[in-house]
């Protein structure tokens, strides 16, 4: 690891780096305990669970979609009781059904986005993600160089192979090749720029990425137990209780949208959002997958997703793709719109546009 890289990692709020360091420490600490006192580590996460009854019932709970209304009600009551006890807040778990005749779509104006990442934090607040060990954020904002600032006259005739009498082959290595040109190329993208960096940096533009709610989602295809599926509104959701934690969906997702609960999630009770949905922001457990759901708990009630409300520059638009009067439809009709990683043929319902 070069010093340059280390510097970047230390300076930025590098979520994954810090987690990895933590892991290394755990590994070492684990080894230490292993030698010193093999029995002392009893502080397992299970003791934090106040409602053993729920745990037992959940052991043989079926796939939520296939459960009878009575069983669904029971499951919801169990969860509400457990969350209320655990977080000391009167928690509701809704199972509001999908809306009729609606296909949700999202549009994001990359010319407006200033990279402040308020959406990221609003999402964490709204959706009860684990704050620490593991740190889970569903939106990742890429900072991409606008391009062209490393072309130079000095390098004009540099590079390999050198030109010969016959003429140039074109440069294969070095010279002015390999210069970032922005666009939606992730080649020079950085996701871990510093928290207190001034944004926007005029040399960069910002591209927030979250689950793109693919119409043809590879994650759904890969899931061996159908724990993740596309709901009738076109949103891909997960039954956290049905997920077996195999991470096949994470392998399949071309957008890096899926997040895994590597350990018992840490959600401080005072920050917990008690208004939840079964397929959305209810607190998750260890060893299951989660990701953006376009805030099902809000959108099934006709509200906008939390990230949209948090955006200070109005770069985010949400709506029903089947309604010609909706914001998204108007944008699709009038703006220069494109999808991220179109070549993957996943047909996202998350669109980027230049406003």
């Amino acid at each position: 690891m070069s010093e340059k890289i280390i510097e970047i990692h230390i300076e930025t709020d590098d979520v994954n780096e810090s987690r990895r360091d933590f892991l290394k420490n755990v590994g070492i600490a684990g080894a230490a305990t292993l030698v010193a006192s093999p029995v002392s580590v009893e502080a397992s996460a299970d003791s934090a669970n106040p409602d053993a009854e729920t745990t037992v019932a959940e052991l043989y709970q079926g796939h939520f979609v296939l459960m009878s209304d009575k069983d669904k009600k029971k499951a919801i009551e169990r969860l509400e009781k457990r969350y209320t006890a655990k977080y000391g807040k009167n928690t509701t778990v809704s199972d509001a059904p999908p809306l009729e005749g609606v296909l949700f779509g999202y549009a994001l104006d990359i010319s407006k986005c200033i990279g402040c990442r308020r959406c990221v934090h609003a999402c964490v607040q709204e959706n009860n993600q684990s704050r620490d060990n593991p740190v889970i954020q569903w939106i990742q904002v890429m900072k991409i160089p606008k391009g062209n600032f490393s072309f130079s006259a000095d390098k004009l005739n540099k590079g390999y192979p050198e030109s010969s009498k016959v003429g140039d082959y074109g440069i294969q290595v070095g010279g002015n090749a390999y210069t970032p040109v922005g666009g939606l190329s992730t080649e020079e993208a950085q996701s871990y720029y510093s928290q207190d960096e001034m944004v926007p940096d005029k040399n960069y533009f910002y591209v927030p990425v979250q689950c793109q709610q693919c119409e043809k989602p590879p994650c759904v295809k890969a899931c061996p137990v159908r724990a993740t599926f596309r709901d009738p509104n076109g949103v891909v959701v997960i039954d956290y209780n049905w997920c077996i934690g195999c991470r096949m969906c994470q392998l399949a997702c071309p957008y890096g949208a899926r997040r895994f609960n590597w350990g018992e999630p840490n959600l401080p009770p005072e920050e917990m959002n008690p208004k939840t949905h079964y397929f959305g922001n209810r607190p998750r457990m260890r060893g299951v997958m989660e990701k953006c759901t376009f805030c099902v708990q809000r959108t099934r009630e006709g509200r906008n997703p939390a990230c949209l409300e948090a955006c200070p520059v109005g770069a985010r638009k949400f709506g029903n793709l089947l309604d010609p009067e909706s914001d998204v439809r108007k944008i699709l009709a009038a703006k220069k719109v494109f999808r991220f990683k179109e070549e993957m043929s996943t047909y996202p319902k998350f669109f980027y546009y230049i406003g």
Partner: protein, 411 residues
């Protein structure tokens, strides 16, 4: 019933009997099982946060090792097939050892997958009937089916042959009607488990390095190299320490298979690297990262060149008759190198570097934790202890040391 009981008893007591070296080997494995029980307990109670995987590299050492176990398990049919397809007398006797290898390695692979799962308690969700297997879409479902069927086929084959030999009723000409189909099915099933495992990887379009049509072929070739390496080592050990006769011709056959397989591996690598590097598009990014590093991150580079180098060297070495015939020194050395090279190839060349760049252009290195490492050793120790005991018992039966004595043994 009495016969079966005495079969189990005699088999077991013969399996644990042995000289001091044998006992030491068992104790050595037992040590890792003991330590591993603790680390496994930690991981089961605290979750995968104790291993090195992250959202950037969600597959851990367990996954890499799992693929390797599939290699060896699939290759074990190479011991079974010559006897049944080509009627080679010298090897037909030994088919049961191939099946034992297959059985133990599939079981080890399944254990690795248990460690890989975030919710091992919910695995029943994959069972048809009570669960909801995503058939026919999910490749993991296919893989689970073929692995379990393979485990069952080999288990059936092994128990049948050993039991029949034990009671002295095994007659190649009068095999039970169901038995021959089972053996033939197991032989074709071997490559199948491998192809399915390759598809679990190559079905992910976004994993540039895996989404290639040569992956199953590469896997089969690696199986052909790593499996027979283990077989040769095992046969040499058996030949030296027991009364079981194993002809040189068998060892030579295995050595030939290793040579051919190493050649095919090289061809597959060359085809893959040429295709990726000639145009050097984004599909070659992970490969470039393995070969040369990226911005100073170059943890995988030595592993890459080391593995490729050892494969080439072993190929050259095994072509030399002197080495191939040096049963006491050089051949075992080559076999150990091939086995280890293909073992480390899995995590360090195939799995980890493939995750860089991530969908957001991140480059990462994977650092296994100590707990993860011990869990891997734990699983291997279980696998090898089963293999050792099974092979020991089986050799006892094949040589006739262990057999059924009518009145004396049970009553």
């Amino acid at each position: 019933m009495g016969k079966i009981l005495s079969f189990a008893m005699d088999f077991g007591s013969h399996a644990i009997k042995g000289g001091p070296k044998y006992k030491a080997w068992l104790l050595f494995l037992l040590f890792f099982i003991l330590v591993g029980s603790y680390t496994a307990y930690r991981q089961l109670t605290e979750g995968l946060i104790l291993v090195g995987a992250t959202d950037q590299i969600p597959m851990e050492l367990f996954f890499g090792n799992f693929i390797f176990t599939a290699h060896v398990a699939a290759a074990a049919i190479l011991v079974v097939a010559p006897g049944y397809f080509y009627h080679r007398k010298d090897i037909k006797e030994l088919a049961v050892i191939g099946e034992i290898i297959a059985m133990c390695f599939v079981a080890t692979g399944i254990t690795f997958i248990l460690f890989h799962m975030g919710r091992p308690d919910k695995l029943w969700h994959m069972l048809p009937g009570i669960g909801l297997p995503n058939f026919p879409n999910s490749m993991l479902v296919y893989d689970t089916i073929v692995l379990n069927v393979y485990l069952f086929l080999n288990f059936a084959g092994v128990s049948y042959i050993l039991y029949k030999k034990y009671v002295g009723e095994f007659d190649t000409k009068a095999l039970a009607r169901w038995f021959t189909p089972v053996i033939y099915l197991a032989i074709v099933w071997g490559p199948l488990i491998h192809i399915c495992t390759a598809f679990v990887l190559s079905s992910n379009a976004r994993m540039g390095e895996w989404a290639t049509a040569v992956l199953p072929f590469g896997f089969l070739a690696m199986a052909g190299a790593s499996g027979p390496s283990l077989v040769i080592l095992l046969f040499l050990l058996i030949r030296k320490n027991t009364k079981l006769q194993i002809n040189d011709s068998v060892i030579d056959l295995m050595a030939t298979i290793i040579g051919w397989s190493l050649g095919i591996i090289m061809l597959v690598f060359a085809a893959e690297y040429f295709t990726a590097l000639y145009s050097n598009t984004e599909h070659a990014a992970s490969l470039n990262y393995s070969m040369f590093g990226h911005n100073g991150l170059n943890m995988y580079t030595p592993w890459f060149w080391g593995t490729v180098g050892s494969i080439v060297c072993c190929f050259v070495a095994i072509l030399i008759p002197k080495i191939r015939k040096s049963y006491d020194l050089w051949l075992p050395v080559v076999c150990v190198v091939v086995f280890l090279a293909i073992l480390v190839e899995k995590p360090m060349m195939l799995v980890f570097p493939a995750f860089s760049p991530s969908p957001h252009g991140e480059y990462t290195e994977y650092h296994p934790t100590l707990i993860e490492f011990f869990n891997v050793l734990f699983t291997w120790a279980i696998g090898f202890i089963t293999l050792t005991l099974m092979v020991k018992g089986a050799v006892g039966i094949l040589t006739g040391e262990v057999k059924y004595h009518k009145p004396a043994a049970s009553e």
